[in-house]
């Protein structure tokens, strides 16, 4: 009863905030949602790996960067639009991810967590430096007409392309939810994530499942790498900020709570854009990220202590 009332209060407050923003500063909501879509679409695959394989992949953003480079040069060579490269890049990145898992991460799964962190951090540095050596720090960006598509509502003109990331984030979140709850492989993955020893006893190949989940997450990262080309220029260090943001969004949502990443991303995206909308608070937008994390984690630990 108490939980229901609390949920109703949160829902009512959220609706009131949305209405107030629409009436007062609609662009905060528009750009906030667009930013949230990008954050969530990148963070969800990391959430999948953390929830099931239980490894913090500090090379998450760098895998996306490598996928983006592969997609860029594939598109350039074949004269192809990055949207057409989404599926091929996803497949190639999934294979690459599976190989990297078997060669490196699998060896460290029973090692202390610090060793796992050092391993994936090492992978991140190796990817960045390898790309830097091959392609230099020169940035690459595909010129695309459709990314400048815009819409007028009253006297507001805004870009609409970035809403594609919102759609992708929703597809990722609910597609994964469907996979994990409705398919045999997905259920096996959840079982492995919850209790690997128990899953092994009932005949599930734990390492095979880990490898599959890692490759699946990397397929989503690869798809995002190709789609990312439509939004941003690419360069060797383009992925690293997304690792940090993704990890913090997962921490905010709670490990294993993939749809929760959507909520955390909306909170972050809207809060950032709210601060950016006003001159005196414009430079504070970057800090909101850390403030939100501290508040959410503190609130959760206080709640845990109470219960």
């Amino acid at each position: 009863m108490v939980v229901k009332r609390r949920t109703a209060i949160i829902a009512a407050l959220s609706i009131a905030a949305v209405v107030a923003l629409i009436l007062w500063k609609p662009t905060v909501l528009i750009y906030g949602l667009q930013a949230a879509g990008l954050y969530a679409a990148v963070a969800i695959p990391m959430g999948l790996v953390l929830g099931i394989v239980h490894i913090v992949n500090l090379a998450h953003g760098e895998f996306m960067m490598v996928a983006a480079y592969a997609a860029y040069f594939g598109c350039k060579a074949l004269g192809m639009d990055p949207l057409l490269a989404i599926i091929p890049t996803a497949i190639v990145t999934a294979i690459f991810g599976w190989v990297m898992f078997q060669l490196t991460i699998r060896r460290a799964l029973k090692a202390p967590e610090l060793n796992q962190l050092i391993l994936t951090f090492g992978l991140a540095i190796a990817f960045t430096q390898a790309i830097n050596l091959i392609f230099t720090s020169q940035t690459y960006k595909m010129p695309l007409d459709y990314v400048s598509a815009s819409m007028d509502i009253g006297d507001i003109t805004f870009g609409v392309w970035s809403f594609v990331f919102v759609a992708v984030a929703i597809v990722f979140a609910y597609g994964l939810k469907f996979f994990l709850t409705k398919t045999m492989t997905g259920k096996a993955a959840v079982a492995v994530g919850q209790n690997p020893r128990g899953a092994a006893i009932v005949g599930i190949d734990v390492y095979r499942t880990y490898g599959f989940v890692f490759a699946l997450a990397l397929a989503l990262v690869g798809a995002m790498g190709a789609l990312f080309l439509t939004k941003s220029a690419i360069f060797p260090s383009v992925g690293s900020p997304f690792t940090m943001k993704s990890f913090c969004l997962i921490a905010m949502a709670g490990i294993g709570n993939i749809p929760g990443i959507l909520g955390a991303s909306v909170l972050l995206g809207v809060a950032e854009n709210f601060l950016r909308a006003f001159r005196p608070t414009r430079d504070w937008a970057e800090i909101v990220f850390f403030v939100l994390i501290i508040v959410v984690i503190l609130a959760r630990s206080l709640k845990g202590r109470k219960s």
Binding site: T27, Y31, A35, N132, L133, T136, S137, Q138, T139, Y140, K141, P143, L144, D145, V147, S148, A149, S150, T157, F158, G159, V160, W161, K231, S232, A233, F235, P236, S237, V238, S240, P241, N273, R276, A277, R279, R282, D283, A285, E286
Partner: protein, 404 residues
Amino acid sequence: MKKRMMLALAVLALIAGSAYAQGTIKIGGIWTLADITGKQGSAAAQLAVDEINAAGGVLGKKLELIVVDDEGKADKAAAAVEKLATVDKVDVFVGGMASGAELGKIPAFKKYNKVVMSTGAAGSATVEKALGPSPDSDFYFHLHPWDYNQGASYAEGWDAIQKKYPNIQIKKIFLAYEEGAFGKSSWDATKILFGSDKRYTIDGASFKSALLGGGDYTAVLEAAKAFKPDLFLWAGYDADALPLLEQSKAMKFSPGIYLGAPPGWPIDFGASKLSPNVMLYGMWSTAMNNNNPSSAKFFKNYVAKYKEEPATYFAPLAYSAVFILADGIKAAGTTETAALVKALEATKYASPLGETITFTPSTIIKHQGITRQKILQWQNGDQQVIWPFEAATAVPVYPFPAWK
């Protein structure tokens, strides 16, 4: 068998002996090789060395360029100077781009007191201050303009353009600047240069560059659109160039002048449909090959040797640096610092950058080379020089057309 061995050894000794007699003049080059400016700068310097050697070398000796990567870090840059001075025993130094890395080199440069032909480092508050006044910094020849030189040349350029083209009128300037040191110093300089005499109304807002994890320009563009500037200037990095234009188009923001000031432009920027009529600051463009024989020669030889086009002005700048050094050594007859400094002070080098380089005192140091940047405009996929008029390759297209 023994006889053959003896003969081979004798031939080797002869070859080694003749090389020793001929000798080489060693140039120590320090660049950030993972960066396009360093990669192409060092390649252009090697091209200059090859051309000079093919023409007989300097003082009967071959030039040898020994390049060390500073990785863009001050500590690595300092170690590079130490290695080149003590292990390779170079005669002179060349190179440089980022002010931070250059700052790391200065104590070692002062220690070895060899002539330095610097191709980068615009930060006067750090690098020029660390060098200090003459005579302690006389070994240092700074080819690239200091930040205050650049600012002054922009103000001069826009005044001249408005005078020559009366349809171009600038009253309101908006600066979108990246929130790091580069953007903030641009904002401070813009306020002083354009806002101090109240001729212009200045406003600005910061954004987080894509290079530093940002890439969302909507807030800064909203502020700019509300200000309705005649000139919109953004000071960020190449990673911001196209996304910023794409978001400007999406928000239908088209000021009279759309001007970018990144250190370099992304590959294929000219091929974008959004690039026409975007203005920029720079020092060199391929369009200058049409009216500058030195530029055309440099470009032709660079493309022939490396099968790629020079993408930044740091390439012709490094090429010029080696030629200036070679001419100085020829005139001095030695690489000894005092004599070489004296010879370099008389430099008059017709560079591929479209101007004759001489050295004059700047605010602190005695040997400043180039003091003016150029105002250029992307037209039909190429950067065309708009100002200075003596180097102009096209007339400006104004206003920046409204988005369709």
